[in-house]
Symmetry: C2
Subunit: 523 residues, 2 copies
């Protein structure tokens, strides 16, 4: 498929006139063709107008048609074939196997949401039948279901060019909810974005939907993103990126005449807690697993383990030694962009220069935009006294916090900010301590995992990829898994609406066969 | 029960030292004893510290104990007996029958949430069992449930001194969710607040809970409210009141180092749409019902019908005439506070003076702090051209919008802000038009009701008392009905957590018997 560098505005393609963006191969430094035209505010306006226009017919579709559409997107992505993988590799420096896996995850997500649509549980249908004889007042007939919010803006992430980008989780869940989507492509992978966008555009056409259901715009600055979040026709937004970027857009979303939900996934250091029995029994094995997770994908995962917490002692020393050796053997890895590589180097240098921090080990050096893994350690007291150590350094860097005792470990847990994940390594003898810690961990993270690392995020029904601030801007939600659709829905109650006018999912004979709560009981 | 005017800080009572507040009988203008001491920031700090301390044990309680606690609150409220009704009447000017009904609704709400706790559906429990043989990677065991957010601040509402105040819906749903509550009493009914607060305090003691589960503070200004929302230990807040007050506190909630959910119910004019066949068949009867709803409780309902929308013609003229006559016969009614009465008079005067607005009728005049009902009319074109007419005038005032045709009616619907309720009066011949309008109405309101008025809000499973901005600050939620508990919960996913450490609702043998979604299927 030949890239054109065009914006996709509804069913149209046109070359943006607001500057040009080119991909860069981070491995070679080579600039990639073609140029992608940047969008103007007029393009944002056009996309928003089309999205609003499309919303009426799109949300009125039978859920089965919406499911078919999501499946068609998956098929069109698969039809791109190896051209997609080749382009993503060139734009991101990520290896083929990882990207093939990520493509499977992306199409799997779309198909999961198709099944969610067929299941109907996302509608949260409830019926309280009328009680005309009730005293002192009769009860009216009340029926509730979820409806979509309206057009959604999605901001592509740099670190998951497929699964968290143009046709990624935010787009899939918003489209499933019944919301048209306008994607602002991440400027680090514009060609990947065009390929994925054209797959969605093709699916829109093949299913015969209003073309305004999907638009894709390019921009390397802030103005277009800001205009998109400020547009009154946009009713929610999904974002994965930096804390600074997320907070800036969140402020725009909240400051609008009509504020909107803004779902930003921003910053998480994903503590890994090593409990004593597990540490004593298999510290070196855990260290090996840890360094594997730390350096996976050059450490560029939202769920990268950036913090190790344990009670100090010879077992922790042995763990640190083993982890240090593994880090020293870790090859330098190409990072996603020159900017990310530079920010990583600065973050690591700051830790290296911090007087309270000990540099345990550095990985191998490389050439070009590569990151050199880093492991540090600090005492629990110094960690507590230096909140700058609690902040994310995006990339393969981690700090071991040596707590003096359990009380200090608990203080450290209480001091850290909200997280996407917290991992605990434990053996059966640790269960008592783990049980003591769990309530505090539940308040800090969206996912608690045992004897593993957070870097694999299963797309499932019971997954939460979210967490208290600042890991996300709204810890009541998840951006991965079937529950992600809830971000783009709100409940509406219908009182005494005639049967003929009820939506299918609320009609008395339940023609869609969805799960409903009738008089408070699931049935 | 003798009122003491004290703050309730955890299990303690002490007289606040930051100024004094006294209730005023709005019917007589009489100042009511005793004086209530205003809280200092130190009192807020003490209440927040106790709430945080109580949170650990409170959320760990068996759900059955939490249910028993809610029932105990209801019993302690009932045990106050007629002293409660007498005091609320004195502080609010509301009639006995209304307050007895509101008390029943308040205790009913508490008992509803007790049943929600026993049902367990609010936990949204999900299990995706491990798939150790899956290729290329095994699936871990994933289990999800909702956990409480933490201590919640509740701001009592002036217009529902029982059902939306100290032991009202926000408090009941937050306590049900597992969150300790700190209530800031509305200064218009401090004695009512003390009585209700002492009932909760007594229930805390009788069930043997940590006393920090509940605190009640008094304040007539803004400082204490602001300190409460800004306190880092407070993790969510519920508010019912003015748009200005709600937005000011919402800005504080969002501007914290850790932003928190702020659920404000603010402003709604609750349009009533009269479709042609219904208008022709029974316009005068609808007019009578409308004026009854308009003047109920001096129009001081969040769901008061402030707007009538219809296509102009002789039937609408007949409706307006009938409604005007009914308004002219409506007695003046005591309003909740002198300030509310004054604001109502100003709002009505502004409508009366607006050149584009016709004053159809005024109700009877009264003495003291009474509101004189008012009915206005305006053309659809003038309504569209004057957004100030879209704003709420709190009290018994309503505007009839005479749309030139269906197209203009649709423009008017598109132009209004988000609403708690929209009512449609229709006959069978109107179903076609109603079906055309419904999609737009769903985007504007949390509840759509047919052939009635929004003023009765059923406490039920399928109720939504919420809606798009500015009717509330978060249209994804409801503040009435069993779904209200969701405001104070967030999901947590547990990955490979040993069976022994799982919470009861996620243990494999489901000892609590809660509804769960296993591998995506309800079972």
């Amino acid at each position: 498929m030949t890239l054109t560098g065009e914006l996709l505005i509804g069913g149209e393609r046109r070359f943006g006139t607001n500057g040009e963006i080119k991909g860069v191969n981070p491995a070679s430094g080579e600039t990639l063709e073609p140029a992608f035209g940047g969008a103007t505010k007029a393009d944002v306006d056009a996309a928003a107008a089309l999205a609003q226009e499309a919303f009426a017919s799109y949300r009125a579709l039978p859920y089965e048609t919406r499911a078919t559409f999501l499946e068609a997107i998956a098929e069109h992505i698969e039809a791109i074939g190896d051209d997609l993988i080749v382009r993503v590799m060139a734009e991101t420096g990520l290896p083929r196997a990882r990207l093939e896996g990520e493509r499977g995850r992306t199409t799997g997500q779309l198909r999961l949401f198709a099944s969610v649509l067929r299941d109907g549980g996302f509608l949260e249908a409830r019926i309280d039948p009328a009680l005309p004889e009730r005293k002192p007042l009769p009860r009216p007939d009340l029926r509730l279901r979820n409806v979509p919010l309206g057009p959604v803006a999605v901001f592509g992430a740099s670190n998951f060019p497929l699964a968290f980008s143009v046709a990624g989780g935010d787009t899939a869940s918003a489209l499933a909810a019944g919301c048209p989507v306008i994607v602002k492509a991440h400027p680090a992978h514009p060609g990947t974005s065009e390929l994925m966008g054209r797959a969605i555009q093709a699916a829109v056409a093949s299913v015969g939907l209003h073309p305004g259901v999907f638009s894709l715009i390019h921009d390397s600055g802030y103005e277009v993103s800001q205009a998109l979040v400020a547009d009154p026709r946009v009713k929610a937004a999904g974002f994965t990126g930096s804390r600074r970027g997320g907070l800036a857009l969140a402020a725009i979303a909240q400051g609008r005449p009509e504020p909107i939900p803004f779902y930003a996934e921003m910053s998480s250091i994903n503590p890994v807690i090593l409990l004593p029995a597990a540490l004593a029994a298999r510290g070196p094995a855990i260290a090996e697993g840890f360094v594997g997770a730390l350096t996976l994908g050059a450490g560029q995962f939202c769920t990268n383990p950036g913090l190790i917490l344990a009670i100090d002692g010879p077992e922790l020393t042995a763990f640190v030694e083993a982890a240090g050796k593994a880090v020293e053997a870790a090859p330098a890895a190409v990072m996603l962009t020159p900017g990310i590589c530079q920010a990583f180097a600065h973050g690591v240098a700051a830790l290296n220069d911090a007087p309270e921090v000990t540099t345990v080990a550095r990985g191998l050096t490389g050439v070009g935009h590569t990151g050199q893994a880093a492991l540090f350690s600090v005492s629990g007291a110094d960690f507590l006294a230096n909140p700058h150590l609690h902040e994310e350094v995006f990339g393969a860097a981690s700090i071991v916090v040596r707590a003096a005792d359990q009380a200090q470990l608990e203080k450290v847990i209480a001091a850290i900010e909200g997280q996407l994940t917290i991992a605990i390594h434990m053996d059966e003898a640790d269960h008592g301590l783990a049980g003591d810690l769990l309530p505090a961990l539940e308040l800090k993270a969206g996912r608690i995992l045992v004897n593993g690392f957070g870097t694999g995020v299963e797309v499932a029904h019971a997954m939460v990829h979210g967490g208290p601030f600042p890991s996300t801007s709204d810890g009541r939600t998840t951006s991965v898994g079937s529950l992600a659709i809830a971000r783009f829905l709100r409940p509406v109650s219908y009182q005494n609406l005639p049967e003929a006018l009820l939506p299918a999912e609320l009609k008395t004979d339940n023609p869609l066969g969805v799960v409903r709560r009738v008089d408070g009981k699931i049935g």
